[in-house]
Each structure stands twice: as structure tokens, then as C-alpha cells.
Amino acid sequence: MATRTLCSRANRIQTQLQTALQATVLEVEDVSYQHAGHAAVRAMEGGVANETHFNVKIVSPKFEGLNLVRRHRMVYELLSGELQSGLHALSITAKTPAEAANCAT
């Protein structure tokens, strides 16, 4: 039986983070193609940069009172399944609604 995932990793990331973090802003970007020459990617089947590197930008009230390390850890824990199944790197911007309002985007 073909085990084709119906959801792409980007979708899965989006869903997991949205529900758990009640994000007011959530952007998930697959930038694997930018790391196509990467050793870990080449070792993968076909050497195709597939869903290995993502940028996520999250604005969530749940980050209130947490320093950057703890915010990032929270995100990593939510995505631990992905990290064990081929997600190689995650570039995270994690802000509270107040911080996001202060910065011009």
C-alpha cells in the first residue's frame, strides 16, 4: 500500500503550531531548495532537497514571559515528530503580539 502523505510537511507544521500556539500570525516557508548542496540533503534519497529546511514566523500570546530559548524549545517540542522524520533545520522568529506590533514588518 502506497504510503503517500496527504499533507505536506509545511501543512503539518502549520497545523501543529496553529492549534497549540493559537498563533495570530503564522508563516511557514519551505526553503529546502536553498540548501540543496547540503551534505544531509545529498544523503537523502535521490539527493533532492525535500522538506528539510523551513523558516517559521510565529506571533503568539503563549510566548509572553518566555525568553528566546524557551520559545524556540516550545516550537521544537511541538515539531519533534517532524524533526525525527527528516526535518533538518528550522529558522524561527517567535514574537508576542506586543513585540510584533512594535516592529514594523
Binding site: H35, H38, A39, L68, V69, H72, R73, Y76, S80, L83, H88, A89, L90, S91, I92, T93
Partner: protein
Amino acid sequence: MAAFTVSSPSPAPLSLPKFSKFATSSHASALSLYSVSNSAFLFSSETLRYRPLPKNRRHSAVVFALKKLSETELVVVSFESEGLVPSDSGVYAIYDGNGDLQYVGITRNLSASILAHKKSVPELCSSVKVGVVEEPDKDALTEAWKTWLQEHIAATGKIPPGNESGNTTWVKKAPSKKSDLRLTPGRHVQLTVPLEDLIDRLVKENKVVAFIKGSRSAPMCGFSQRVVAILESQGVDYESVDVLDEEYNNGLRETLKKYSNWPTFPQVFLNGELVGGCDILTSMYEKGEVATLFKQ
């Protein structure tokens, strides 16, 4: 007239063009030219080759405009005498306290170069002669340099000590980078303590530790490279560990992920605690927090 070739490698940010193998008819020894290493007046980045002067070359006019070394006024070098030496491009000759010529160099900023030499080797920089070169392309500057050197050699039969091949007195050396730390003596050596303990000890014994992919001089990953660049630019004294080194750091990657409860690299530790990865370091750098935090 003696034939000579002058060649220079392409300079890295802190390295310089080097001219060697200047042989006169009376001297078989090689001469070297080093201009001051400073990004503010980095010399040309192309390989220089001496080409025989065609009669109508512009810089032969420059050489005629340049005063002879012996006819140029000697100026005492001091930190107060900044105004006496112009900031133009040109050739300079540095004399020590005995009035002996130590070094002939070229630069795009006479004043800055001479002050830098004065700071670096004050005992050799007593006075200086400068010759401003109009329209200072690299050929013109080289010509001026050769003219003065030839004049000096013809007059004294000697090459200035600082211009001898291999002499690096007048060269600002790039600081050599620390080598990376290794966790174990090698794969073949049986560990007596678990790897976690070795990691724990390492991050607690060293103030700043960066676990990166690759070595600090050759990072193998863009994120690691950025972390190294940030730490270096802020002058942080840090230890680096190559997590890709399977010989001396075998198993480090997986063990460290569990130890720090952090799934990616690079990882930067301060006083035994994880500060974060590339994103966090970058964010701190942008806020100007890196120096204050890491260099307390």
C-alpha cells in the same frame, strides 16, 4: 638595466600584496614590498606584473614628477605631527634613530600607514620621507617604489632591511585562529565516562562554547558560519567544537541534542547554559547584546 618581475597574490582582507625577486645587476638577493595591511587602504587585488615601459606611458611622467629620495625632505615622525604627512597615496621611506633607511613602502594613505608603523615598531620609525604620487594606480605606485629603492641601492649598495625577502617586520599579521576543541582523544580510545559527562564538563569549564558544523576556520553550514562570524566580529573569546568530526567527537551530534534538549546546530553555550542557535545569536547581535553578554 636589470630585468625584474614583480608579482602579488590576490589579497585576503588582512593580507597584502607581496613583491619579490627584485634583482639588480649588483645584487642577487630578493627584495620584498609589503604595504600596510588595513582595509581602509587595501592595495589592488589583481596580480601585478611588471611590464616594460612603453615610451608614452603616463606613469613615466609620474616618476619624473617624483623627487629623488636624496632630495626629499626628512620629516620627524611623531603622533603629533599628523599634519606634516599628507593622507595621499604615494611612496614612503622610513628611517630609524640612526638615520638608517629601514623600509620603503607604498600606500594609499601615507599619513595612516606611517602612524601605524610608528605604533607597531616605534623604535624603527624616527623619521620619514614621503613622495606623493599623482594618479596613483598600482603601476605608478610600484614605479615610484622601485625608483626610490634603486636610488638607495645605487647609493649605498644595500637593500633596506625591511624590504628583504622574508622580512615581516612591517607587515601586520592576521591573528591566527584558535583551534577547535576535541571531546575525546580519538574513536579508538574507549571512553571511561559517558559522553554527556564530557559535554557537561566542557561547557562548564569554558565560558563560551560554540558547537558548530565544521571548524571555526571552515564552517560547513551557513548557520554555523554566521554564528562564528558574529562571535568573531564582537571579539568574543570562545571555544569551538566540530560536531561533524567523527574521529574526535564521535556520537556528539546525537548526544548533544539530548543533553541540551535542542535539535539543531549550531548551539552556543555561555557559562554552561544554552544561549541558543543561529536565530537567537543573530537577534542578539542585531540588538547589540552580544558583546555585553559574552564578554562580561
